[in-house]
Symmetry: none
Subunit: 227 residues, 2 copies
DNA sequence: TACGGATTTTACAAATTCGTTACAGTTTGC
DNA sequence: GCAAACTGTAACGAATTTGTAAAATCCGTA
C-alpha cells in the first residue's frame, strides 16, 4: 500500500478538494491540476499511480489528455463524466480509460473505484491481476479459481478463496476485519465483522496441510505468514 | 462493542422512537433532537459516533445541518430522505453524507446501514506511519505489527507494541506518562497514569535480550536508549 | 417448490488483555 | 538519616476478543 499518488484533474476547485479529502483519508497522496496542459505536464514530469480526469477541461479537453497519455503509457485513468455521456466510448477503444464516474459523484464511490482500478493495475506492468500467487507451498490461481498445496488440489468455497487471495496479496501484513470486509465483500457490505472469523476458521481448516498459516493478531485482525 | 451513541434527528416523534427502538436493541445508545438547531448544538456539545439526520427539519434544514457538520468534522451522517430526492446530491458533492435511507424506512435497513457506516468509519483509524523502525538490534514493523530482536520474533501485546512504537519514534527523548497516554491511549483516555508503568515493566521484560533499554527519568517519564 | 450447499448470524465458552490496586523498594530533598 | 514522593511489579477481577459449533438464512438449481 506504500503511499501512492493520485493526480486529480478538474477545473472546479471544490471537486478537486472533495476528491482530495476522501482520497487522502484513504491514505493516498493527492496532487491536482486545473487544465489539460497542466495535467499532461504533471503526469509526464512525475507520473502518478493513477489519474482522475474530468472530461471537460480548459485548454485541452479530457479526451485529448487521455489519448495522449494512452499513446505511450498504461497509466490508469478514471474519467469524470456527465451522466448522459456515452460511456462505451470512454472506457472502450476510443479513449481507453480504465473506469469512469458520473458527476455529481459520491466520493466513496470514487474512492472505491480508485482502489479497484489500482488493484487491477497493481500487477499489470508485466502480469495481470489474474496472475497466479504463490506463497511457500500454497499456490492460488485466480483465473482457474484453484488453490493447491504441494500441488495437491484444495477445494475452497468462493468466499474462502477471495479471503485467502486478499490475505496472500499482503503477506505478513495485518489486515483488520474491516479491511477484509471491504476487500472481499465490498465496501458497501452490510454485515457483521464476525463473519470474517468464521471464514478464517474454515480457511485454516482447509490449509492445515500447508506451511502457510493465518495468524490472529489480537485486537487488530489477521495476517498470513509463511515460515 | 464499547457502547456508541447515535444522534437521531427528526421532528416526528414516532420516527425518532422507531429508530430508538431498533438501534437500542442493537446495543447503541440513542439520543434525539427534534430540529436542526438542537441537532447542531447536541452534536457540538457531546459528539455522537454517528448522526441519523432527517432532510426536512424545522428551524434549520437537514441540508444545512449536514453542511455545517461537514465544514469541520468527519462525523458519519446518514440522511433520511423522501423517495424522490436526488440522492447523488445528498451523498455526493453537495452534502457529503455517508449514506442515506429513504422514508418510510425499514428499521432493519437503518440498523444495517448504521452498522456499515460505523464499520467503514472504524476501518480508517489512526493513520500512523507504516514505515519500519529500527533502533540498534530492535526492529519494529507496524504493518505486520511485529517486533524482532536480532531477527528473533518477540511477541508483544497491542498496547505494548504501540507503546514501544511511541518511544522508539523519539529515541533518547523523555516522554512523560501523560504524553505516552496521549499517543498510545488517545487524547481522550481517562485513567491512571500508573497504567503506563505497568506496560513499561512488561515491555522491559520482553526486551531484555535487546540492546535497547527503557530508562526511567525520575519524576519526568521514560525514554528509550540504545548504547 | 423443494432441495442442498454456501453463507451469515448467533451463542457461549475459552483465551487473552487491560487497568487498578497494594505494597515493597528507590530516590530525592532536607 | 528521614520522610515524602516516586517507581517496580505481582496479583486480580473485569472487560474484551476470539474460536467454534449450531442454527438460521440465502440462493441457485432441479
Amino acid at each position: 500500500m506504500s503511499d501512492q499518488t493520485i493526480l486529480v484533474v478538474d477545473d472546479e476547485a471544490n471537486i478537486r478538494e472533495l476528491a482530495r479529502l476522501y482520497l487522502e483519508k484513504e491514505g493516498y497522496t493527492v496532487v491536482t491540476a486545473t487544465d489539460g496542459e497542466q495535467a499532461l505536464a504533471q503526469a509526464r514530469q512525475d507520473p502518478p499511480a493513477l489519474m482522475v480526469l474530468d472530461l471537460m477541461l480548459p485548454k485541452m479537453d479530457g479526451r485529448d489528455v487521455c489519448r495522449q497519455i494512452r499513446a505511450d503509457s498504461d497509466l490508469p485513468i478514471i474519467m469524470l463524466t456527465a451522466r448522459d455521456e456515452d460511456v462505451d466510448k470512454i472506457v472502450g477503444l476510443e479513449l481507453g480509460a480504465d473506469d469512469y464516474v458520473t458527476k455529481p459523484f459520491n466520493p466513496r464511490e470514487l474512492v472505491a473505484r480508485v482502489r479497484a482500478v489500482l488493484r487491477r493495475a497493481a500487477g499489470r506492468p508485466d502480469e495481470q491481476r489474474e496472475e497466479v500467487r504463490e506463497l511457500d507451498n500454497v499456490r492460488l490461481d485466480p483465473a482457474a479459481r484453484e488453490v493447491t498445496v504441494d500441488g495437491q488440489r484444495v477445494e475452497l468455497r468462493a468466499k474462502a478463496f477471495d479471503l485467502l487471495m486478499a490475505l496472500i496479496d499482503h503477506p505478513n501484513m495485518v489486515l483488520s476485519r474491516e479491511q477484509l470486509l471491504d476487500k472481499v465483500w465490498g465496501y458497501d457490505y452490510y454485515g457483521r465483522t464476525r463473519t470474517v472469523d468464521v471464514h478464517i476458521a474454515h480457511l485454516r481448516d482447509k490449509l492445515d496441510e500447508s506451511d502457510v498459516t493465518i495468524e490472529t493478531v489480537w485486537g487488530k485482525g489477521y495476517k498470513v505468514v509463511a515460515p
